[in-house]
Amino acid sequence: MIRHILTDGMDEFDLTRLDVYRSRGGYEALAKALRTMSPDDVVNEVKVSNLRGRGGAGAGTHFKWSTLPNDGRPRYLILNGDESEPGSFSGRMLVQKNPHLIIEGALLAAYACKMARIFLYLRGEFHEGAEVMARAVGAAREAGLVGDRILGSDFSVEFVVHRGAGAYICGEETAIMESLEGKRGHPRTKPPFPTAAGLYGMPTVIQNVETVANLAPIVANGGAWFAGIGPAKSPGTKICSISGRVRRPGNYEIEMGTPLRELLEEHAGGLEPGHALKFILPAGASSALVLPSQLDTPLDFDSMTAIRSMLGSAGMLVCDDRDCAVHVAYLGARFYHHESCGKCTPCREGTGWTEKVLHRMEHGEGRPGDTKRLSDLCAGIGGRKCLCLLGDFSVTYLESALRAFREEFVAHEAGGPCPVAHAALEVSAR
């Protein structure tokens, strides 16, 4: 039985319209919270729900909220809709097709944590999403759902929609704050953590858009209901974006704990006929490869971590026997070289060096020692030596590719045409 919490009705109805959303029970959770629950009651339901952040790290949402200091300073909520991970496009879908679910969830979070203002940070390229969101916020404001004295209660909060300028790093939780403040998207050192000193120095909670989209259902049905879906430690559903060498690429909302094989074979229609799975990058370019032997791994935070990969934002890139590991590695390296913010040395210089080596290998100019050089580069960049996690992301997939397909890399050291049959990897969305 597939449960749809976040995408329910999304394909059949135009949920971007406030009246449609409301006719299906929308904003009733908000009304319920404002009329019958204290902020602490909402916090408690979230605690009971065991909700974990969908932005990648799977941090406990209640835990994050509990670190907010109680010192009277204004608090801010940032909704992270930067979604720049290659192969991740679930947030874009939610933003474009179910904006009120995000808004309602954000309002609930703001009510629970007594936030002064909500900022939705959208990836710069999300033209359409920004328009949909602006319209939805406008409609909600007109209906008394955003702004002063929401639904006649004492609760007031503003909702700001902000479009970035198109940078992967601006999804990182401190760079997003710098960017919102009008500065370069550069990560800050931590501590202080955002909940202590975040946006404009104020306590700030940063939450992925999909994370907050879960809040209305949790408040409506109770935290215990949510906690009962999927694995106890990683409950709920997850919208997985799957693309690459599959027959039905797209977004699929699955129950946490669903085996990867089921997502691949049943939802995404399996591989193209006549081809065999080579590997999957389960969290876009930032995770270790999942090999065919690991296909039965349940899709939840802990199970994926247990196989030394991660669920992350569940942007799954599927590669089959036509895909050369060096080619895929080169595409990743190009991405990281392009996206490194340049603030810290290992990532700034290392990603460029890595791309240059892989560029040569990919273009028939490999040299003896290149494979070892790549391993050394991974060691120089990785291991938490960088200022933010982007640096580590940039080597995680590469290290695992070097482990699993070392012979392909070594083969490229000889130069000449690619010894592995391959065609361009296409990343496409539904």
Binding site: G342, T345, P346, G383
Partner: protein, 783 residues
């Protein structure tokens, strides 16, 4: 989020020190000490680039890696982390030389070098470069990088003083952080992303601020370099000498470096009590006058209407003879001397020339030490803790630039700034304006009495201009006062008695005994005349000779018409200076002196700090120090100077400030009230003759409010005629909303503004009409 139940004992405050181990040995540090500082203190330094003690840590370069183990990361076992962003914790085990730490640093250094041009042989920083030093100490011996490097701009022109080599930049961001954290400016920014990132000015325009040079010392590599020092010397063949900048009355501490007797650069010499470790560009780069080919190199004597070279003996005889003719002599200037020289000049004036007609105040400043008018002096560091600072029509960034940095920092924390006057004086940082007309300063200050009284640690900054009513208003505020001077050693001159109504050591004229005892000679008791009265007497033909010591009243005296008449009428004029100023061109005897970088002695800064000046460079062959000239001139008068400074009076004579001799007040012909204000790069002293500062010279820049500009049909960047007092000046126009409407601001020490009178009219002028300095000098010297 636990709360203490009422009545329960409050938890003990965490101890103020923490104990940890560094390379196996126990140490204790104040809580919050960063590892990078802790390890250095105990002799296990680690390399660092982005960290700088004066900037907030950012953890960008990642070269300061150390290994740490213990709380709060005990569970993870030893890890390497950045020492500049991690404070010491109780029980932390820090290893600076463990293999993982050494490896991490080596990797970072290797990364830093891959796109570096490695052009050390032609790099100014070679020999004092942190990239060289740390690579040698901690880096890999060989680079494994065999790919093409990222290419960038090699000698990017960032304006008058800075040249940037973008390829040498290691992206530590010290420069951009200094700009924003220390200056509150953004003259340098980062552009592009990743390994394409470069440092640049915002739109590629020339660097606009007054403090660009500090970047060249913050930059750990040879990326940001000084134009004046490019390819001039190597650190190992320069001779460093500690001295003090005399660009203004703050007296920032410098290390001057010379090569073969020529100054190649000035560098900061951190004195927390004075400069806080910064220099302004005027100070840092304004050494070019020392070796200028325009320096006066031999005494000149007027013969047949022309100034011709003479021997020192001839010049001294001529000067002594001329100054002692009927009508007596008067002395103007002396606020650029050393303390010792100022005393010599006082002795020369009183004992050899037998007069009290002496005044250093050839500009607008009326007093130098707060105590001299009965106010209390403040220390420079008082600004740091001040809760309220009153800027009494004083513009620090123009008058004592590095002090402005301190005020900006204070204002960015808790200090409230009240900016009083007809122009916004404090432009960067929070402040409240208290607008007032130029003659309404006393009333405006008086209105602030309750605010100052309510403040816990107020400081008043007043440049000592105006007359007794302003002094009274400042006194009445009761707060400690800082007095930025119009000249570098105004305070020394005042203390030495280069005023008509007090003797050295602030002894009253009728308290001359200690002075006479020190000098072994009697001094005249009748009060002398101040600068205005002296100039009036000279213009009236009743003074026999005028001796200008490092002074050019044609530019600095607020009533330029009077100064011109005085110099025109006085029968005999002696000018002692470094350059052929407008006044020197009019003199009968010109005496070439050495400059502030060429003589030793002491100087007293605006807060009374007595500092030591060193002879850094030799100066041109024929020039002599002011002190030597005073001795020789006195000898030519038959007097041997003792140079002894009398003890300071236990009760300094309280002086009353007569009006400063400004232009005639009250409504005049024009529509706009003229404001003469100090501008850093205007002036006729060394600035006008310093090739390094030439691009920034602004002798004739008119600033006025957009409304007034529009009414007069003037555009920003255009030219204007400024008319008043029967005189016309051509000036470049800056439209500036920070000048209150109804006012026209001109640089006080520019040539011409002081002849305009109090009220002026402005009208558009053709761009070609803008003045050249040469023309101005020619106009005066054709006498």
């Amino acid at each position: 989020m636990s709360s203490t139940p009422p009545g329960a004992a409050a938890p003990a405050p965490p101890p103020s020190t923490v104990a940890c181990t560094i390379n196996g040995r126990p140490h204790t540090f104040p809580r919050g000490t960063l590892i990078v500082d802790a390890v250095r203190q105990v002799g296990h330094p680690i390399p660092y680039y982005c960290y700088h003690p004066k900037l907030a840590p950012v953890g960008a370069c990642r070269v300061c890696m150390v290994q740490v183990e213990g709380p709060p990361v005990a569970a993870r076992g030893p890890i390497v982390t950045t020492g500049c962003t991690t404070p010491v914790f109780e029980g932390l085990k820090i290893e600076t030389m463990s293999e993982p730490a050494k490896l991490a640093r080596r990797q970072v250094l290797q990364f830093l070098l891959i796109n570096h041009p490695l052009d050390c042989p032609v790099c100014d920083k070679g020999g004092e470069c942190d990239l060289q030093d740390f690579t040698l100490g901690y880096g890999p011996g060989v680079s494994e990088f065999a790919e093409p490097k990222v290419l960038r701009r090699k000698a990017a022109d960032l304006g008058p003083f800075l040249v940037l080599d973008q390829e040498r930049c290691i992206m530590c961001q010290r420069c951009v952080r200094y700009e924003s954290e220390v200056l509150g400016e953004q003259n340098l920014v980062l552009k592009e992303r990743g390994d394409r990132t470069v440092i640049d000015t915002g739109q590629g325009e020339p660097y606009a601020g007054y403090f660009s040079g500090n970047n060249t010392e913050l930059c750990p590599v040879g990326a940001l370099t000084s134009r004046t020092y490019r390819f001039k010397a190597r650190p190992w063949d320069v001779r460093p000498v500690a001295s003090v900048c005399q660009g203004c009355s703050l007296g920032c501490n410098v290390t001057a470096q010379t090569r073969a007797g020529r100054i190649v650069r000035l560098m900061l010499r951190d004195n927390p009590a004075v400069d806080g470790g910064w220099l302004c560009d005027r100070g840092r780069y304004g050494f070019g006058h020392s070796a200028s080919p325009d320096r006066l190199t031999a005494p000149l004597v007027r013969r047949d209407g022309r100034l011709v070279p003479a021997s020192w003996d001839e010049a001294m005889a001529a000067a002594a003879g001329g100054l002692r003719r009927a009508g007596g002599a008067a002395v103007l200037g002396g606020a650029r001397l050393t303390d010792e020289e100022a005393v010599l000049l006082a002795e020369l004036t009183r004992v050899a020339l037998r007069t009290n007609d002496v005044d250093w105040r050839v500009g607008r400043q009326r007093f130098a030490a707060p105590e001299a008018v009965g106010a209390r002096g403040a220390a420079i560091a008082d600004l740091d803790g001040a809760d309220l600072v009153v800027l009494a029509d004083t513009c620090l960034v123009e008058e004592a630039p590095v002090l402005e940095i301190r005020l900006r920092r204070a204002a960015s924390r808790r200090t409230a700034v009240l900016d009083v006057g007809p122009v916004r004086n404090f432009r960067i940082g929070r402040s409240t304006r208290v607008p007032c007309p130029p003659d309404g300063l006393a009333a405006a200050l008086a209105s602030l009495g309750p605010k100052v009284a309510a403040a816990a640690r107020p400081v008043v900054i007043w440049n000592g201009r105006g007359s007794e009513d302003v002094a009274e208003a400042v006194r009445a505020l009761g707060a400690p006062v800082l007095v930025p001077g119009e000249w570098s050693n105004a305070r020394g001159a005042e203390k030495a008695g280069l005023v008509p109504d007090a003797l050295p050591g602030y002894h009253a004229l009728d308290d001359a005994a200690p002075v006479e005892a020190a000098w072994g000679a009697s001094v005249p008791r009748h009060p002398g005349r101040d600068a205005r009265a002296i100039l009036e007497a000279a213009a009236a033909g009743s003074i026999g000779g005028l001796y200008l010591v490092g002074a050019n009243p044609l530019r600095t005296f607020p009533d330029g018409g009077l100064a011109a008449a005085a110099l025109d009428k006085v029968p005999f004029l002696v000018v002692q200076d470094l350059f052929m100023t407008e006044a020197a061109a009019a003199a009968d005897v010109v005496l070439p002196a050495t400059g502030p970088l060429e003589k030793a002695g002491h100087v007293t800064n605006l807060a009374g700090n007595r500092q030591t000046l060193a002879a850094v460079a030799a100066g041109p062959g024929g020039a002599r120090s002011d002190g030597d000239i005073f001795h020789a001139l006195a000898a030519a008068c038959g007097v041997a100077l003792t140079g002894r400074a009398p003890e300071v009076a236990t009760e300094p004579v309280r002086r009353v400030l007569t009006p400063g001799g400004g232009p005639p007040a009250g409504p005049g012909g024009g529509a706009l009230r003229l404001l003469l204000r100090t501008r850093l790069y205007a002036g006729g002293g060394t600035t006008a003759f310093d090739p390094n500062l030439a691009p920034l010279r602004e002798d004739a820049v008119l600033r006025l409010h957009p409304r007034d500009a529009a009414a007069a049909g003037l555009e920003d960047g255009g030219a204007a005629y400024v008319k008043g007092g029967g005189s016309t000046l051509t000036a470049a126009v800056r439209v500036d909303p920070d000048v209150d409407a109804g006012h026209a601001e001109l640089p006080a020490h520019g040539f011409g503004p002081t002849r305009l009178g109090a009220w002026v009219d402005v009208q558009p002028a053709p761009a070609e009409a803008l003045p050249g300095r040469a023309a101005a000098i020619a106009a005066v010297s054709a006498r």
